[in-house]
Every structure is written in structure tokens, then in C-alpha cells.
Symmetry: C2
DNA sequence: ACCAAGTTGGTAGTGACTATCATGAGGGTA
DNA sequence: TACCCTCATGATAGTCACTACCAACTTGGT
């Protein structure tokens, strides 16, 4: 629907959005998140404060916005429905991480992640995003939500997988992205569930 | 240090603090968190807005403040140092939950938890508090932080335990506190780590 | 009675965020 | 080419969380 306008207008909009976010992340990293105002970001990006709010609903979104949930969810749906929960979820997380860290703006991803971890307000909202991701995963699993016990187990398994993911992300950020992220996620999952639960050794 | 003043002054201060929080949680539950201003809280509690800020640094703290971390940490320290991580941490969480749900202001705890889960801003900060609790747990484990791999495994185990805790808390809040919280936590841990990992069946 | 310290209240600000209206630049249609 | 219609952007004024800063009052010990 809103996609294939692809005309000049859409490209410009996407461009200003990228510009704003790039300047925002840069300023936040340089001066600190709290010490940077929305006006500072607008000025650096060469737009009015209003335009910043048009593209990012909150200051936190300047760092946090992503739609990785879809990426993970579609891999969950594609995974064999019969397998153990942890393997399905863990595999999807590793696959998604492989795709993301191969991406061009991997540096931006790393900078954003480091901000998320070091800034309390951002860390909180990041964790909440993970919680939203958890609900997306539950939905993608396609299990019958009718049985409360099954649902409870799915919640528990997914939350633990995401906890492992977060542990790996923190480690990755601390290493400035030098280590292989998918491998780190695999190690974290193995540390939680045991070496055999995650799948064949890479 | 700051405790045994216990004189009239300290008791009054504690009293106003309780009054403010009680009115705040009531208003938040009735009208919604975002629809209630700090002035509303102050007015309902019969104090000036300044006084509210003196007792609670942020609006979120009106719902979130607790020092459960110490409660858990001291139980971790008391647990046998040799055992498996998951059992030590899980046991401490269950013990702490048993103590808290037996408490007098259990209703307040439940109301606060329901607010935390339903309000995005509060949920985010609650999850961040869990993250802080995780660090407290890691510290209480007393493991050598020198070995990065050991530390990484401790982080992964602790984060997964807290994820299970959170799953149990959500379920408890949904049930309006009717189910037994410690038992729920045990089930969540069992769902994540397998039935044998948590300890002898209750 | 007197002083020190702690609790409270008032004022004036900053900064995130919203609502509303105005303007000018695409982009399809006659 | 001329005409709208949409949409991205901008400016203004306002709300609300939160922060100094200063003033007044109460309590507890000497």
C-alpha cells in the first residue's frame, strides 16, 4: 500500500529520516543521550524540530526503532512446526542475527546497541522491545493458545531465549562487534539450555 | 545508619510517603497512568507537588520502587556455593516470592504489578529493574569474574531465570494473585530448564 | 530558650511532546 | 500546460515531568 510510491517524495522522506537518525546517534554517542536535546538533533540534521518528531515519535525512537521482529517472526513460521521450542526460537534468532550483521549499516547497528546498553532510559525501552518481540514469537509459533499450560510454557521458553539473546548482544557490544554475533548467541543459548538443546554444532 | 532515628520525624516521613504512594497507585489504576498528573497525585495526597518529588524521584518510582534485589541477593549468598547456578538462583527467587506474597501489603504489590504490566513506560522500567536485579544476583553468586566464559555463563543463566520469573509474575497478575506465586515460578523454571533442574518437587 | 537539621512549600525555569494552522513542493488528471 | 490534491515541512502556543533555588516551619537535642 504505502510502499510502491517509491517516487521522489518517498525517497526524500526516507533520506531525511536516515539523516536525522545518523546525526542523532552521532550526537548521542559524542555528548551523551541526556545532554543532547531534540533541538540539537534538528539543528545538526538541518531540519526543524517538528520534522524530527514527524519521523520519530519519541527521542528514544531515534535510537531504538527497528523492525527486527518481523525478521525473526517469518523465520519462526518457516521452521518445522514439530521441533522443540527452544531450537525453533534459537535458530530463528541466530539466522536473523546472521542477516543483520552482514548488513551494510552494521556500524550504525553497533553504535545504537552501545547507546541502548549504556543509557538507562534506552536500556529500559530496549528491554520492552524485546518483550514485544517475545509476543511476536509466540504468535509466529502457531501453537494453540487455547491450552493455558502450553501457552505458559511457550512464554517461558521464548523469554528465556530472548534473555540469552540479550546476554549475547551485551557481550557483542562490549567487544565492539569484533566477535561473531550468531556464534555468541549460540553460546548463550547453550549456556542456558545445555549444549545439546540448541542444535547441531556449527 | 539512617534508620534508628525512628523518632516522630522519621515515622511521619514514612507515613506521608506511604500515603502518597497509596493515592498514586489508586489514581493510576482508576484513571490510567498517563491520564494522571503529578499534581493530581499531590492534591489527592494532600501535599504539595514538591513533596511528591522529594519522596519519589520520578513518576515511575511511584509504582516501581522496591528493594527486592537485596532480598534475593542475601538468599543467593546463603545458598550452597557449589550447586548448579540455575538451582541457586531459582531457589532464591522462589524463597523471596514466598516472603513477599505473605506480606501484609500484598494487595498493593499486586496492584503495582498490574500497572507495571499494562503501562508501557512502567513495563519498560520494570524490565530494566529486573536487569539491575540480574547484576545483583551475579554479584551475590561470588563467582570469579576473572574468567570471561564463566561470567558469560552466569549472565546467561541469571537472565534466563529472571525471564522465567517475569513470565510467572505476568501470569500471577493476570490471575489477580489467586494462584500461588512461588509455585508459578517453579513451573516457569521447569518449563525453561526441564523438570529436574529446579530442585526437589515441592 | 536556642540552635541545628530536616521537612515542606513557592517560583521560575528547561526540555520532551502535542495540537493546530499555514505553506510550499510533488504528482496525477483534464 | 494548467489545475487540484496530497503530503512533507515549518511556526506557535501549550501541557507536563522534572530541576534548581530560596523561604518558612517543625522537631530534637543542648
Amino acid at each position: 500500500m504505502t510502499d510502491q510510491h517509491s517516487t521522489l517524495r518517498a525517497r526524500r522522506r526516507a533520506q531525511t529520516r536516515r539523516t536525522i537518525q545518523a546525526h542523532a546517534v552521532r550526537l548521542f554517542s559524542e555528548r551523551g543521550y541526556d545532554a543532547t536535546t531534540m533541538n540539537d538533533v534538528a539543528e545538526a540534521a538541518g531540519v526543524s524540530p517538528m520534522t524530527v518528531y514527524r519521523h520519530f515519535a519519541t527521542k528514544e525512537d531515534l535510537v531504538l526503532v527497528d523492525q527486527h521482529a518481523e525478521l525473526v517472526a517469518e523465520r519462526i513460521v518457516a521452521s518445522p512446526a514439530g521441533g522443540p521450542l527452544v531450537r525453533r526460537i534459537g535458530g530463528a534468532l541466530i539466522d536473523a542475527a546472521t542477516a543483520l550483521t552482514g548488513d551494510a549499516d552494521r556500524q550504525l547497528l553497533l553504535a545504537r546497541l552501545q547507546l541502548m546498553i549504556s543509557t538507562p532510559a534506552l536500556r529500559a525501552r530496549h528491554l520492552d522491545n524485546q518483550y514485544a518481540l517475545q509476543q511476536a514469537i509466540i504468535g509466529a509459533l502457531g501453537d494453540d493458545a487455547t491450552d493455558p499450560d502450553t501457552a505458559f510454557q511457550a512464554q517461558a521458553a521464548a523469554s528465556a531465549c530472548l534473555a540469552a539473546l540479550h546476554t549475547a548482544l551485551v557481550r557483542w557490544a562490549e567487544d565492539d562487534g569484533r566477535t561473531d554475533l550468531p556464534e555468541l548467541i549460540g553460546k548463550a543459548l547453550a549456556a542456558v539450555f545445555g549444549d545439546d538443546a540448541v542444535g547441531p554444532v556449527r
